[in-house]
Amino acid sequence: MTVIPPPPSDDAGLARATKRFLGAAAAEADVVYAELDSPVGPLVAAATTLGLARLAYRDHNGGLDVVLDTLAARLSPRIVEAPRRLDAVRRELDEYFAGARRSFGLPIDLALAGPFGREVLRACAQIPFGATSSYQAVAAAAGRPRASRATGNALGANPVPIVVPCHRVLRTGGGIGGYTGGLGIKEHLLGLEGVAL
């Protein structure tokens, strides 16, 4: 039986076609993402048409594949890599880490947070650069003063850390509390903002 050998491989052609496709796909996908480097380790940023929906500490969150699988399950599987679409996020983060930015102007999509989580994150976003608050105070600002445990959980599940500054929330009495990227990063961010622990 004659078997036809496959056509000659043409890696350069495939690379060109891939680049062209991903460029066009960025405009049609529900979620676009990029991997970013930062002083606190590699990040994965993902945005919907509404804004930044996820900023993950890649290694602390199980790696790129796990981050993307979660986005596929909870937002949409129509996800493509589109570094250019995350340029504004990269720029504002670079400025923040360089000490040249004290607040973020990025549009944010809190689709990954539940209804109470959104209230908590909105309250948290009001804490200014270099200041800190307590779980109790954030719970009160979110409208449920007795729900400081639920508030801690909501902050721990913050889909967009750094940009929504959950690192500024400490335990009443000054304990550092927890952090979604590990306590070392929380300390790094507070140090960057000049908070003495």
């Binding site: 062209r20 796909a25 996800i79």
Partner: protein
């Protein structure tokens, strides 16, 4: 359902080989682009039980057929040979085979391209073409018979 980016990375190579074989190197880029854009648009409606390879190749096959229809097969495959020879002198014989495959009747052409360029099993070829496995085998067999008569005298 796997994130589309990963699905794309898993199937880009096979779709590219299929497109190169089905419409020739100078049009593969366009058919590849249309195939994956259509896949992205329909991705969240895909039945996850179906073979992903057969699903994407069915789309690629439809886009290749659209291409053949729109060009009315005016682009003679022979005209593309010098370009292939320049790009990669070694496998001219392979390229020649695929140029001849593109002149076969549609069913034979589709069965051979999906089987040997996209590396699908006969069962997956059948699923991609919406025919029975026997019919897919028969089309591939007839295509090979024609090629053997023409190419290996």
């Amino acid at each position: 359902m796997v994130p589309f980016q990963r699905f794309f990375e898993q199937h880009a190579d096979a779709v590219w080989r299929y497109c190169s074989a089905a419409v020739g190197p100078s049009h593969a880029d366009d058919v590849f682009q249309e195939t994956f854009l259509a896949a992205l648009r329909a991705y969240d409606r895909r039945r996850t039980s179906a073979s992903p390879a057969a699903w994407i190749m069915a789309i690629a096959h439809n886009k290749a057929m659209d291409h053949h229809r729109s060009t009315g097969r005016r682009a003679l495959p022979v005209a593309e040979l010098p370009e292939i020879a320049r790009a990669d002198p070694e496998p001219v014989l392979d390229a020649g085979h695929w140029a001849r495959v593109r002149t076969l009747p549609p069913k034979q052409r589709a069965a051979l391209t999906l089987r040997y360029a996209a590396d699908l099993s006969h069962a997956e070829v059948a699923r991609a073409l919406g025919c029975s496995e026997d019919a897919a085998r028969r089309s591939a067999h007839e295509g090979l018979k024609t090629l053997r008569a023409e190419l290996l005298p």
